[in-house]
Symmetry: C2
Subunit: 104 residues, 2 copies
Amino acid sequence: MIDSNVFKALADPTRRAVFEQLARKEKSVRDLAAELPVSQPAVSQHLAVLREAGLVAERRHGRFTYYRTAPDALASLAEWVDRYRVFWPERVEKLKEILKEMDE
Amino acid sequence: MIDSNVFKALADPTRRAVFEQLARKEKSVRDLAAELPVSQPAVSQHLAVLREAGLVAERRHGRFTYYRTAPDALASLAEWVDRYRVFWPERVEKLKEILKEMDE
DNA sequence: TTATTAGATAAGCAATGGCTTATTTATAGG
DNA sequence: CCTATAAATAAGCCATTGCTTATCTAATAA
Protein backbone atom coordinates (compact mmCIF):
# COMPACT_ATOMS: atom_id res chain seq x y z
CA MET A 1 0.00 0.00 0.00
CA ILE A 2 1.63 3.20 -1.14
CA ASP A 3 1.80 6.14 1.23
CA SER A 4 -0.04 9.31 0.22
CA ASN A 5 3.00 11.24 1.42
CA VAL A 6 4.95 10.19 -1.66
CA PHE A 7 2.36 11.66 -4.02
CA LYS A 8 1.87 14.71 -1.82
CA ALA A 9 5.60 15.37 -1.70
CA LEU A 10 5.91 15.18 -5.48
CA ALA A 11 2.74 17.18 -6.16
CA ASP A 12 4.56 20.45 -5.56
CA PRO A 13 6.65 21.65 -8.53
CA THR A 14 9.32 23.24 -6.37
CA ARG A 15 9.69 20.03 -4.39
CA ARG A 16 9.85 18.01 -7.59
CA ALA A 17 12.60 20.33 -8.83
CA VAL A 18 14.51 19.73 -5.60
CA PHE A 19 14.13 15.98 -5.96
CA GLU A 20 15.31 16.05 -9.56
CA GLN A 21 18.34 18.12 -8.61
CA LEU A 22 19.24 15.76 -5.79
CA ALA A 23 18.92 12.75 -8.07
CA ARG A 24 21.77 14.16 -10.12
CA LYS A 25 24.00 15.54 -7.40
CA GLU A 26 24.25 15.85 -3.65
CA LYS A 27 23.64 19.44 -2.57
CA SER A 28 23.52 21.58 0.54
CA VAL A 29 20.43 23.52 1.55
CA ARG A 30 22.22 26.68 0.60
CA ASP A 31 23.03 25.38 -2.89
CA LEU A 32 19.37 24.54 -3.42
CA ALA A 33 18.13 27.85 -2.06
CA ALA A 34 20.46 29.67 -4.44
CA GLU A 35 18.88 27.94 -7.45
CA LEU A 36 15.27 28.30 -6.41
CA PRO A 37 12.97 31.33 -6.28
CA VAL A 38 12.13 30.73 -2.62
CA SER A 39 13.77 31.47 0.73
CA GLN A 40 16.09 29.16 2.67
CA PRO A 41 13.41 28.30 5.25
CA ALA A 42 11.07 27.34 2.41
CA VAL A 43 13.74 24.98 1.07
CA SER A 44 14.25 23.46 4.52
CA GLN A 45 10.52 22.91 4.77
CA HIS A 46 10.39 21.25 1.37
CA LEU A 47 13.30 19.01 2.32
CA ALA A 48 11.50 18.00 5.51
CA VAL A 49 8.48 16.94 3.46
CA LEU A 50 10.65 14.98 1.03
CA ARG A 51 12.51 13.33 3.92
CA GLU A 52 9.22 12.44 5.62
CA ALA A 53 8.15 10.74 2.40
CA GLY A 54 11.39 8.77 2.29
CA LEU A 55 12.50 10.50 -0.90
CA VAL A 56 15.70 12.15 0.31
CA ALA A 57 18.39 11.51 2.90
CA GLU A 58 20.77 13.88 4.62
CA ARG A 59 24.41 13.91 5.63
CA ARG A 60 25.77 16.46 8.08
CA HIS A 61 29.25 17.89 7.69
CA GLY A 62 30.15 20.79 9.94
CA ARG A 63 27.70 23.59 9.44
CA PHE A 64 26.50 22.09 6.19
CA THR A 65 23.80 19.54 5.60
CA TYR A 66 24.03 17.75 2.29
CA TYR A 67 20.97 16.14 0.80
CA ARG A 68 20.63 13.45 -1.83
CA THR A 69 17.85 11.18 -3.09
CA ALA A 70 17.32 8.24 -0.78
CA PRO A 71 18.24 4.78 -2.06
CA ASP A 72 15.03 3.22 -3.38
CA ALA A 73 13.37 6.61 -3.15
CA LEU A 74 10.78 5.79 -5.79
CA ALA A 75 10.46 2.09 -5.02
CA SER A 76 6.91 2.25 -3.70
CA LEU A 77 5.79 4.65 -6.41
CA ALA A 78 7.33 2.54 -9.15
CA GLU A 79 5.64 -0.52 -7.72
CA TRP A 80 2.28 1.23 -7.66
CA VAL A 81 2.65 2.37 -11.25
CA ASP A 82 3.79 -1.08 -12.37
CA ARG A 83 0.58 -2.61 -11.02
CA TYR A 84 -1.38 -0.65 -13.60
CA ARG A 85 0.79 -1.44 -16.56
CA VAL A 86 -1.44 -4.47 -16.91
CA PHE A 87 -4.16 -2.14 -18.20
CA TRP A 88 -1.78 -0.72 -20.69
CA PRO A 89 -0.57 -3.48 -22.98
CA GLU A 90 1.44 -1.44 -25.48
CA ARG A 91 3.70 -0.10 -22.74
CA VAL A 92 4.37 -3.52 -21.35
CA GLU A 93 6.08 -4.59 -24.55
CA LYS A 94 8.27 -1.52 -24.49
CA LEU A 95 9.10 -2.16 -20.88
CA LYS A 96 10.12 -5.73 -21.64
CA GLU A 97 12.49 -4.44 -24.27
CA ILE A 98 14.01 -2.01 -21.79
CA LEU A 99 14.51 -4.82 -19.29
CA LYS A 100 16.13 -6.97 -21.93
CA GLU A 101 18.54 -4.16 -22.74
CA MET A 102 19.34 -3.75 -19.04
CA ASP A 103 20.31 -7.42 -18.87
CA GLU A 104 22.80 -7.05 -21.68
CA MET B 1 7.38 17.59 -18.26
CA ILE B 2 4.88 15.92 -15.99
CA ASP B 3 1.87 17.86 -14.80
CA SER B 4 1.50 18.44 -11.06
CA ASN B 5 -2.17 17.62 -11.44
CA VAL B 6 -1.38 13.95 -11.83
CA PHE B 7 0.45 13.83 -8.50
CA LYS B 8 -2.14 16.06 -6.84
CA ALA B 9 -4.98 13.89 -8.05
CA LEU B 10 -3.35 10.73 -6.73
CA ALA B 11 -2.27 12.30 -3.45
CA ASP B 12 -5.73 11.89 -1.96
CA PRO B 13 -6.42 8.36 -0.68
CA THR B 14 -10.11 8.46 -1.57
CA ARG B 15 -9.26 9.55 -5.09
CA ARG B 16 -6.64 6.83 -5.37
CA ALA B 17 -9.26 4.30 -4.26
CA VAL B 18 -11.58 5.59 -6.99
CA PHE B 19 -8.85 5.30 -9.59
CA GLU B 20 -7.98 1.77 -8.50
CA GLN B 21 -11.63 0.73 -8.69
CA LEU B 22 -12.03 2.22 -12.14
CA ALA B 23 -8.92 0.47 -13.38
CA ARG B 24 -10.63 -2.84 -12.71
CA LYS B 25 -14.15 -2.05 -13.77
CA GLU B 26 -16.25 0.72 -15.27
CA LYS B 27 -18.57 2.16 -12.64
CA SER B 28 -21.26 4.77 -12.24
CA VAL B 29 -20.96 7.62 -9.77
CA ARG B 30 -23.61 5.94 -7.68
CA ASP B 31 -21.69 2.66 -7.57
CA LEU B 32 -18.61 4.49 -6.37
CA ALA B 33 -20.49 6.54 -3.79
CA ALA B 34 -22.02 3.35 -2.38
CA GLU B 35 -18.55 1.90 -1.74
CA LEU B 36 -16.96 4.99 -0.28
CA PRO B 37 -17.43 6.72 3.07
CA VAL B 38 -18.20 10.06 1.42
CA SER B 39 -21.26 11.68 -0.16
CA GLN B 40 -22.21 11.58 -3.84
CA PRO B 41 -21.17 15.21 -4.43
CA ALA B 42 -17.78 14.42 -2.94
CA VAL B 43 -17.40 11.56 -5.40
CA SER B 44 -18.38 13.82 -8.31
CA GLN B 45 -15.78 16.33 -7.17
CA HIS B 46 -13.11 13.66 -6.95
CA LEU B 47 -14.00 12.43 -10.42
CA ALA B 48 -13.70 15.97 -11.77
CA VAL B 49 -10.19 16.20 -10.35
CA LEU B 50 -9.23 12.83 -11.82
CA ARG B 51 -10.71 13.80 -15.19
CA GLU B 52 -8.85 17.11 -15.13
CA ALA B 53 -5.62 15.17 -14.60
CA GLY B 54 -6.42 12.93 -17.56
CA LEU B 55 -6.73 9.88 -15.34
CA VAL B 56 -10.34 8.92 -16.01
CA ALA B 57 -12.84 9.20 -18.84
CA GLU B 58 -16.63 9.19 -18.80
CA ARG B 59 -19.41 7.68 -20.86
CA ARG B 60 -22.99 8.88 -20.54
CA HIS B 61 -25.88 6.48 -20.82
CA GLY B 62 -29.30 7.81 -19.91
CA ARG B 63 -29.24 9.16 -16.42
CA PHE B 64 -26.07 7.29 -15.65
CA THR B 65 -22.50 8.39 -16.17
CA TYR B 66 -20.01 5.57 -16.25
CA TYR B 67 -16.37 6.25 -15.49
CA ARG B 68 -13.30 4.25 -16.30
CA THR B 69 -9.56 4.88 -16.27
CA ALA B 70 -8.45 6.78 -19.33
CA PRO B 71 -6.34 4.97 -21.90
CA ASP B 72 -2.71 5.80 -21.13
CA ALA B 73 -3.83 7.30 -17.83
CA LEU B 74 -0.48 6.80 -16.17
CA ALA B 75 1.69 7.33 -19.24
CA SER B 76 3.28 10.56 -18.06
CA LEU B 77 3.71 9.31 -14.51
CA ALA B 78 5.27 6.03 -15.65
CA GLU B 79 7.59 7.96 -17.91
CA TRP B 80 8.65 10.19 -15.05
CA VAL B 81 9.31 7.22 -12.78
CA ASP B 82 11.16 5.32 -15.52
CA ARG B 83 13.66 8.14 -15.81
CA TYR B 84 14.77 7.35 -12.25
CA ARG B 85 14.48 3.59 -12.47
CA VAL B 86 18.02 3.33 -13.72
CA PHE B 87 19.19 4.35 -10.24
CA TRP B 88 17.51 1.36 -8.61
CA PRO B 89 18.61 -1.90 -10.16
CA GLU B 90 16.96 -4.02 -7.44
CA ARG B 91 13.60 -2.75 -8.62
CA VAL B 92 14.02 -4.35 -11.99
CA GLU B 93 13.78 -7.85 -10.53
CA LYS B 94 10.45 -7.10 -8.86
CA LEU B 95 9.18 -5.63 -12.09
CA LYS B 96 10.07 -8.79 -13.93
CA GLU B 97 8.04 -10.78 -11.42
CA ILE B 98 5.05 -8.54 -11.98
CA LEU B 99 5.35 -8.97 -15.73
CA LYS B 100 5.53 -12.71 -15.29
CA GLU B 101 2.33 -12.67 -13.24
CA MET B 102 0.66 -10.60 -15.95
CA ASP B 103 1.52 -13.20 -18.56
CA GLU B 104 -0.11 -16.01 -16.57
C1' DT C 1 -47.89 15.49 -16.45
C1' DT C 2 -45.67 14.66 -12.03
C1' DA C 3 -42.52 12.28 -9.18
C1' DT C 4 -38.17 10.07 -8.91
C1' DT C 5 -33.52 9.36 -9.68
C1' DA C 6 -28.44 10.25 -11.36
C1' DG C 7 -25.30 13.44 -11.32
C1' DA C 8 -23.22 18.10 -11.32
C1' DT C 9 -22.83 22.48 -9.24
C1' DA C 10 -23.04 26.10 -5.47
C1' DA C 11 -21.98 27.83 -1.07
C1' DG C 12 -19.85 27.54 3.17
C1' DC C 13 -16.70 25.60 6.58
C1' DA C 14 -12.57 23.70 9.02
C1' DA C 15 -8.13 21.92 8.00
C1' DT C 16 -3.99 21.99 5.35
C1' DG C 17 -0.25 23.92 2.45
C1' DG C 18 3.37 26.96 0.90
C1' DC C 19 5.23 31.04 1.71
C1' DT C 20 7.17 34.88 4.40
C1' DT C 21 10.04 37.14 8.35
C1' DA C 22 11.92 36.46 12.88
C1' DT C 23 14.27 33.58 15.87
C1' DT C 24 16.98 29.67 17.50
C1' DT C 25 20.67 26.20 17.38
C1' DA C 26 25.03 24.69 16.03
C1' DT C 27 29.44 25.07 13.90
C1' DA C 28 33.55 27.72 12.19
C1' DG C 29 36.95 31.18 12.35
C1' DG C 30 38.82 35.75 14.00
C1' DC D 1 35.43 34.94 23.70
C1' DC D 2 32.70 37.09 19.82
C1' DT D 3 30.96 37.25 15.19
C1' DA D 4 29.44 35.14 11.09
C1' DT D 5 27.21 31.54 8.73
C1' DA D 6 24.22 27.07 7.76
C1' DA D 7 20.16 25.24 8.70
C1' DA D 8 16.01 24.31 11.37
C1' DT D 9 12.06 25.97 13.74
C1' DA D 10 8.25 29.27 15.08
C1' DA D 11 4.53 32.17 14.03
C1' DG D 12 1.47 34.24 11.04
C1' DC D 13 -0.90 34.93 6.41
C1' DC D 14 -3.55 33.85 2.60
C1' DA D 15 -4.87 30.36 -0.95
C1' DT D 16 -6.31 25.78 -1.62
C1' DT D 17 -8.55 21.43 -0.41
C1' DG D 18 -12.02 18.07 0.93
C1' DC D 19 -16.02 17.75 2.90
C1' DT D 20 -20.83 18.89 3.94
C1' DT D 21 -25.89 20.29 2.77
C1' DA D 22 -28.75 22.50 -0.53
C1' DT D 23 -29.93 23.16 -5.09
C1' DC D 24 -30.17 22.49 -10.04
C1' DT D 25 -30.42 19.85 -14.53
C1' DA D 26 -31.59 16.04 -17.12
C1' DA D 27 -33.51 11.64 -17.90
C1' DT D 28 -36.70 7.84 -16.52
C1' DA D 29 -41.07 5.99 -15.12
C1' DA D 30 -45.67 6.36 -12.90
